[in-house]
């Protein structure tokens, strides 16, 4: 009887410690559904739906957005999301880069088609957002910050607009050097 008295609280404490440890593991970088402010904690879906941390913690880490480097996640083979449902859908990958240089106070923008067509179809941007002709588009950072142009995705599902240097990545000096005879 005496033994039972002592062992029960000890095992209970161990269980609690484990629960606390689980809650504070790496996985706690992602907010759990029942406390995310959007899901109803009383919904029967809680406990059935996958928790973000359980899915995302093994993927290549990033510092913003979902804390996942989604392009690296495909390139590293960590995930291989389906490209199409219908067999007749054409799946295209385009691999050229565009440099958009205004020679202002910020470095020029390098737009890589590859990282974009890995996820998107041409029609997602052309010509809804951008004309499919180099030099034909006028880019505006204030439009982007207002959720237009690149801002349709960047700031919503792709890495957010706080990550300036990921797009503004080409020094103006290097471009001027290249253009010089």
């Amino acid at each position: 009887m005496a033994q039972r008295k002592h062992s029960w609280p000890r095992s209970a404490a161990a269980v609690m410690l484990l629960a606390v440890a689980a809650a504070f593991a790496a996985n706690s970088l992602w907010v759990r559904l029942e406390v995310d402010g959007v899901h109803d904690p009383r919904s029967p879906a809680i406990g059935v739906l996958q928790q973000p941390g359980d899915a995302l913690e093994t993927l290549p880490r990033d510092s913003a957005g979902n804390l996942v480097n989604w392009v690296k996640a495909i390139d590293s083979g960590a995930i291989n999301p389906r490209t199409n449902l219908l067999p007749e859908t054409q799946v295209l990958l385009r691999e050229d880069d565009f440099i958009i240089a205004k020679f202002g106070s910020m470095p020029a923008v390098k737009f890589p088609h590859r990282q974009h067509t890995l996820w998107l179809a041409c029609e997602n941007c052309h010509d809804i957002l951008f004309k499919a002709k180099a030099g034909a588009n006028k880019f505006s950072m204030s439009a982007i910050l207002n959720g237009e142009q690149c801002g349709v995705c960047h700031g919503a599902v792709a890495f957010p607009l706080t990550e300036c240097n990921r797009c503004h990545s080409v020094s103006n000096a290097s471009l001027q050097r290249r253009a010089a005879p």
Partner: protein, 124 residues
């Protein structure tokens, strides 16, 4: 009182506003749900993009890119359009599992979490 500080902290924790901190890219759909007496839908981009590239839903399924631009009535889903292209009991759970998608807090505003206005510098 024995532990006024502890009680103070507990009160503070209990009263602290629960700021929405849903996963980046989560979309709330509440055009019809509240009116129909069901919880709003929470669509998790993170979950879907592990399994499907953007182009599958945004080209093949016909979802426009901008949150709010899509009219997604339940009847269309049951007919196999939009979500119903996969949520048909073959690829993913069927439309009879109401609660799994309609899992949001009642009264939520439609829109995307993250978003140009809340995640980046946004509208100044």
């Amino acid at each position: 009182m024995k532990h006024p500080a502890a009680i103070g902290w507990a009160a503070l924790l209990a009263l602290a506003p629960t700021a929405p901190s849903a996963e980046y890219g989560d979309v709330v759909l509440n055009r019809y749900s509240d009116k129909a007496g069901v919880r709003p839908v929470v669509f998790p981009h993170w979950f879907h993009r592990i399994r499907f590239r953007c182009k599958v839903c945004h080209q093949e399924l016909g979802f426009q890119m901008r949150a709010g631009a899509n009219d997604v009535p339940m009847a269309d889903i049951i007919d196999g359009k939009f979500c119903g292209m996969c949520h048909n009991e073959r690829v993913a759970w069927g439309p009879d599992r109401c609660d799994l998608c309609h899992s949001g807090k009642p009264g939520l505003r439609s829109g995307i979490i993250g978003g140009a206005q809340t995640s980046g510098p946004g509208r100044w």
